[in-house]
């Protein structure tokens, strides 16, 4: 395997990880501040993608589509928070799992009811399509490079938001001591709605960005949701830094595992057996990674020690 191919695959893993980060950041934020397990986060991802596809189709503008995804998902998030989620904060994890599972059912079938059963069209905008040549002669799709940049910008933005703004102070306070922020005179209900909507908007943005190179369809959120959970658990729940590192780890493991495991096994087995076993192992790789991390560090890489 040539070095160029290796670099390209690492870039692919990185890009996949960064996309996971957008999903995971919202999820981990919501868990950190409100202590809520939100299975319906994948639905917000789907809503973002559908909003983007609908608006982009109607207006012809991808950018407008992205804005619609952010706004639509944030709105849906705020609405769900006001109607359902806020009744779940003092319930145990079990109730949260069930209630947000119910939300998945409602969102998925509701979307199918509105948009029909067929996938929608959403494509990479003209000015970002096609490959560019990187130093070293690597041809890499411009859009994927853009995704990496956007993801890193969002990570930077989140860092600044949390460390430098008033909202960030409140979020950090909320993670440490819930009674405390009430005593500080912060409107907790409002804070929670804002954080939830922010998480939703990130999920929606990620859905729209990914939707352009994948398939915008009902149920697209669940596989990503599981991966996002893997990411935040590896990183340590509540930690944005953990989410970023966890996401990149998962992205790299998944991408490189799929390539190298079958190759590595060819040293021991005949090619078709190696391909078959390697592919099976590759699909289990990230879960094995997650189990291993938790066995060694039961609260994730950057989680608060219990």
């Amino acid at each position: 395997m040539s070095l160029i191919l290796l670099i390209e695959q690492v870039l692919n893993g990185l890009q996949f990880g960064i996309m996971l980060f957008l999903m995971a950041a919202g999820l981990t934020l919501i868990f950190g501040v409100m202590g809520l397990i939100n299975l319906a986060h994948g639905s917000l991802y789907m809503i973002g993608a559908f909003c983007a596809a609908a608006v982009a189709a109607a207006s012809g503008s991808f950018i407008l589509g992205l804005i619609a995804a952010l706004a639509g998902a944030a709105l849906a998030g705020a609405l769900v928070e006001l109607v359902v989620i806020r009744r779940l904060y003092d319930k145990d994890h079990l109730d949260q799992v069930l209630a947000t599972f119910a939300l998945i059912l409602i969102f998925s079938e509701g979307t199918r009811w509105i948009f029909g059963s067929f996938p929608l069209f959403l494509n990479v905008p003209e000015f970002l399509s096609g490959p560019v040549t990187l130093p070293g002669g690597i041809e890499y799709p411009l859009y994927r490079l853009t995704l990496i940049v956007i993801g890193l910008l969002v990570a930077l933005g989140l860092y600044l938001l949390i460390s430098k703004t008033r909202l960030g102070v409140q979020i950090r306070a909320g993670e440490n001591d819930r009674e405390m922020i009430g005593a500080l005179g912060v409107d907790i209900a409002m804070l929670y709605t804002i954080v939830f909507a922010l998480g939703a908007a990130l999920a929606g943005l990620s859905g729209a960005l990914v939707g352009a190179i994948q398939s915008v369809q009902v149920g697209m959120g669940e596989p990503v949701l599981i991966l996002a959970f893997v990411v935040i658990v590896i990183g340590g729940i509540g930690s944005i830094k953990g989410a970023l590192i966890g996401a990149i780890l998962v992205g790299l493991t998944d991408t490189l595992g799929g390539i190298f495991l079958p190759e590595a096994l060819k040293l021991f087995f005949d090619p078709s057996t190696a391909t078959s076993i390697g592919s099976s192992l590759a699909s289990m790789a990230i879960y094995i990674l997650m189990a291993a991390v938790l066995i060694l560090r039961p609260a994730g890489l950057f989680g608060a020690r219990a």
Partner: protein, 327 residues
């Protein structure tokens, strides 16, 4: 408010009366639905021991359900193709006998639960939920790519396995078998909840430190509970595979884990009959709502939401109020 005991008695009565009525009315599909509910109930009773009494929120119980299913599928597959299961170190043949299949299902589930439990119990809370989910996904993807036993297509067993003295192909006889097992499992769960072990497990959920200071190991207590729980769910998996005469990786999916959990929450967490009532209600809902509209998932979702948000203690809690003090 109706006393929980009466609710339980009524549930048992329904479990007997509905299938008998179905035989009388020649409605065999109703019996099939009841069998499905009874098997789901067994699986959920298993989870309820870990979850309801031990507080172990496992989102990976599909592993045991699937292992039970595949134990049945693999043994019966070898029996129906007349190929040995293993030739080394000694010859093992497949079988079509339910009791044998159950034994294998139980042994395999126990082993899996021991390993998964020992590793997962290093974590707590959300991490525990997620690590059990991860194990579930591992088994799921493994089963999908396990070409020898059908991969994603799964395995079809053309004729239901046999039980001495019964014609298991007759729906009511197979139901009877599942019902008896359900009663046995219920009895065991009931005795367990009041036993010294149940006492320790119950305390390990509420106050692990306290259990430690009286000289018991709360983790070991929870691990044993997890194994018992996995075994019961595994048995249910073997029955479920026999009901359908079919196994597939779907049995390992996280949605299956979620559904087993839903039965418990729907019926009432930690209550003896919670899983039974929940499974009955879920199967009934699935059947009736499915006939109403293509978009019936929306109604199911709304209903679940209402129960979580407004019905503390599940369906049983809604009818009979807070759990009575044990005495």
């Amino acid at each position: 408010m109706i006393r929980e005991t009466y609710v339980n008695a009524l549930t048992l009565l329904l479990l007997v009366a509905i299938p008998l009525w179905a035989v009388f009315m020649d409605e065999p599909f109703t019996i099939t639905l009841m069998t499905r509910a009874a098997i789901f109930a067994i699986a959920a009773i298993g989870l309820n021991i870990a979850l309801g009494i031990g507080g172990l929120v496992s989102l990976g119980h599909a592993v045991f359900f699937g292992i039970g299913g595949y134990a049945m599928g693999i043994l019966a597959h070898h029996a129906q193709t007349y190929t040995p299961l293993a030739e080394w170190p000694f010859l093992i043949d497949g079988t079509k006998s339910m009791p044998l299949i159950w034994l294998v299902a139980i042994a395999c589930s126990a082993l899996a639960a021991l390993v998964i439990g020992a590793l997962s119990l290093r974590t707590t809370g959300v991490y525990f939920i997620m690590i059990t989910l991860a194990f579930g996904q591992m088994f799921f993807f493994f089963a999908i790519s396990w070409a020898e036993y059908g991969g994603e297509d799964g395995l079809s067993i053309y004729i239901r396995n046999g039980f001495p003295g019964l014609n298991t192909l007759a729906p009511i006889q197979f139901y009877g078998l599942c019902f008896v097992l359900l009663c046995l499992v219920l009895l065991f769960a009931w005795k367990l909840s009041k036993s010294p072990f149940g006492l320790a497990l119950n305390a390990a959920r509420q106050a692990p430190m306290r259990v430690e200071t009286v000289g018991l190991d709360p983790k070991r207590v929870k691990l044993v509970a997890f194994v018992i729980s996995g075994v019961i769910t595994g048995l249910a998996g073997a029955l479920f595979a026999d009901l359908n005469r079919f196994v597939s990786p779907t049995m390992f999916s996280w949605q299956t884990s979620g559904e087993i959990m839903i039965f418990i929450i729907l019926g009432g967490v930690g209550r003896l009959f919670g899983p039974v009532v929940g499974a009955l209600a879920f199967v009934a809902l699935e059947h009736w709502l499915g006939g109403l509209s293509d978009y019936w998932h929306i109604y199911l979702g709304l209903l679940l939401l209402v129960i979580v948000l407004f019905g503390r203690g599940g369906l049983i809690g809604m009818v009979s109020g807070r759990e009575a003090v044990h005495d």
